[in-house]
């Protein structure tokens, strides 16, 4: 595949960055030589692996992705405390339930990220997705109101993901 003219040197900037960082963290040496090696590897490996790559959705708004990451981290912390209270309290009073979250996106990567987000935030685990990608089934530890829960997931996690991927 020919590259476009205005971006000839690094065909996969995101993967380049990821591999570069991971290599440096793994080898744990921050000398100039090692950084050069990391850069070469991060440049070569995505090109070599191009043949076996599945088509993915590109990240369109990297800055939004970073702020989403911080939101997620905060939510994981806060809702862990909520769940800790539920677990240590009277478990008979919990109302567990399966809820169906209607999806507004179709692409695999954003849905995977949404499902992982749901699983990481305590109180909810994503269980299954319908074959036509219309609904994501979620198991919740405690359902106050089904509609509220679906709204929260859509507003808090799906909306920023849609903006990040512009889909």
């Amino acid at each position: 595949m020919r590259r476009m003219n205005h971006k000839p040197y690094i065909p996969h900037p995101f993967q380049f960055l990821m591999l570069f960082i991971v290599w440096l963290l793994l080898t744990h040496r921050y000398s100039l030589g090692n950084m050069l090696l990391a850069a070469i590897l991060a440049w070569l490996v995505p090109i070599a692996a191009m043949a076996i790559r599945a088509p993915t959705t590109p990240v369109r708004r990297p800055l939004k992705a970073i702020s989403f990451f911080w939101l997620l981290l905060g939510d994981i912390f806060v809702s862990n405390i909520v769940v800790a209270k539920q677990v240590l309290g009277a478990t008979e009073r919990l109302r567990p339930g399966f809820i169906a979250v209607p999806l507004d996106m179709q692409a695999a990567l954003p849905i995977t990220l949404l499902a992982s987000t749901i699983s990481l935030t305590p109180g909810t685990v994503s269980i299954e997705i319908t074959e036509d990608h219309q609904f994501l089934y979620v198991h919740a530890l405690h359902v106050e109101s089904e509609k509220e829960m679906v709204d929260r997931i859509k507003r808090r996690y799906e909306k920023p993901l849609k903006e990040i991927f512009q889909c």
Partner: protein, 116 residues
């Protein structure tokens, strides 16, 4: 030095508490799907806190900043949801019964078959 020890101790305590809560959840919650919540997430945060303690502790011992833990945290965050998903999927297919008062359990069959 005292400040670093305090920060390390604090992170270790937070991590240990969340890990303990996760294990208590595994023990106390009544059905499979609810039990899944304890170990998959409390442990993620618990391990995160303990590894943060490790970063703080080893970064101030003079061998430069310790960064390997960041990778461990990253990989745990990547794999924990997948484990939870696979476990719950397996539970669905061997027809694990959820607790009797679970909401929408009449939809379990369609969830299993990935219909709406």
């Amino acid at each position: 030095m005292l400040l670093i020890e305090l920060a390390t101790g604090f992170c270790l305590m937070v991590g240990a508490i969340f890990l303990l809560v996760g294990s208590i959840g595994l023990f106390r919650l009544p059905d499979f799907y609810m039990r899944l919540h304890g170990p998959t997430k409390a442990t993620t945060l618990g391990l995160g806190a303990i590894l943060t303690a490790s970063i703080i502790f080893f970064s101030f011992r003079g061998d430069g900043i310790s960064t390997k833990e960041i990778l461990i945290i990253w990989f745990i965050f990547l794999t924990a949801p997948i484990t939870a998903h696979m476990l719950s999927k397996a539970a669905l297919h061997v027809r694990q019964k959820p607790r009797a008062d679970t909401l929408n359990q009449d939809r379990l069959a369609s969830i299993r078959e990935r219909r709406q």
